[in-house]
Subunit: 245 residues, 2 copies
């Protein structure tokens, strides 16, 4: 091998991976409202099968190397688009994993992001032999330390759901309170009181009625709501300079 290859092998490789969450019903069908229906929605994530050593054949998080001229988040978005065609509604850095022995080949540090996609966006994932949705709670043994990473991402999703306003990243622009509550129930895996949930949401100032209602159900038509944007969605502190929506 050439000199440059040896030098590269002697440097630390920098990669990004992303844990992508979407809500789908128990059978794995994202068509339809996905929440608010009879079947309780659950958290799913897409994985890709490794087609080269090391760990060839194992399922893994989508990701790849960071290019010299792209930011970390940019690299995450590019890899996401390339391997899954997904453009997440929410994307946040999770953690940098860099244990010496986490990759058997060369030394690799992975900046891991986590993402939320809307149901309609989740449809764009081109399924195949090497790309597949998995329920977040019953994953196979993944490549490298990816099981640990998914556990951590799930924990972050659940804790952040309790004090932040990220739930809308699972929904479209307009939604009913039942749909929003369905998101919370699916992620937190526990039923919520509809009456109290309504009051908490309304008093938070995070949502406002659009004026529209949903007709067609065999019951009282629910109002539609949208997010006001008044409430800061996340808590990244001095980071995320107000934009990023």
């Amino acid at each position: 091998m050439s000199d440059s290859s040896d030098v590269l092998r002697a440097s630390i490789g920098l990669a990004v991976s992303t844990v992508i969450f979407a809500l789908r019903d128990a059978e794995g069908d994202t068509s339809g409202p996905a929440v608010g229906t009879d079947a309780p929605a659950t958290v799913w994530l897409p994985l890709v099968r490794r087609i080269r050593e090391p760990q060839c054949g194992r399922w893994a998080l989508p990701g790849g190397m960071v290019e010299l001229d792209e930011s970390l988040e940019g690299a995450a978005r590019r890899n996401l688009a390339e391997t899954t065609q997904l453009e997440p509604a929410y994307l946040e850095q999770l953690y940098a994993f860099g244990d010496v022995d986490r990759s058997p080949d060369r030394r690799l540090v992975s900046i891991v992001y986590w993402a939320l996609v809307r149901p309609d966006e989740a449809e764009r994932l081109t399924l195949g032999e090497n790309v597949q949705w998995f329920p977040a709670d019953e994953l196979p043994e993944l490549a490298f330390d990816h099981n640990l990473i998914v556990d951590y991402a799930l924990w972050r999703l659940r804790t952040k759901m309790e004090y932040s306003a990220i739930a809308h990243a699972f929904l479209g622009d307009e939604f009913t309170l039942a749909e929003l509550r369905g998101v919370y129930e699916a992620v937190l895996q526990k039923p919520l009181d509809p009456a109290n949930f309504r009051r908490q949401m309304e008093s938070s100032g995070a949502i406002e009625p659009t004026g529209g209602v949903v007709t067609g159900g065999r019951h009282r038509p629910p109002k539609l709501y949208r997010y006001t944007g008044d409430v800061q969605l996340v808590d990244a502190g001095p980071l995320t300079p107000r934009i990023s929506a």
Copy 2:
């Protein structure tokens, strides 16, 4: 230059930096209890002056490159010991900063940690022309994006102080409730009701009386407490596998 140097320049450099917090009184003296005295303690952090380009002369966070055979946290601890002689009581990953233009020289990604040190440990910092304590709220213009990083670390410290039990990392093994309250007041920058603070701490199960008291004050001798360890200090979820003290 040789071929290997060009290749290295064409790869992404991986560094670690650490934001180190300690409590010192307004004049910057860490001798004595540092909290619980008359002068209200404030948050300080040590910076090192850059002695080479780029940004030569500017104050910056202590840090350095990650070696091939050390973990990210290990690299943070080593750089801390080498540049400041400090061994923090608490050390946690903060964020990975990797914007393309954050370093004018080569492409550099920094995994940033934040740390808390005890007052006696803070004494070990060997001050000099190029190593100095600064009050966290009135920093000069730092090198690179380090002002943003410190702001973020300060925000994390303050938010985490409200729901976690990290305050003891600023104190010794034994402490009075007034000292512990002093830590909270210094970090959160607001006075706390002694009576309510006592009840909250006692009911949390995080502390227990040692049986000892502090005599010598011109008032009723306060009891000494220690942390029980029953309460998980931090909230890193699936990470931090129970050990790490």
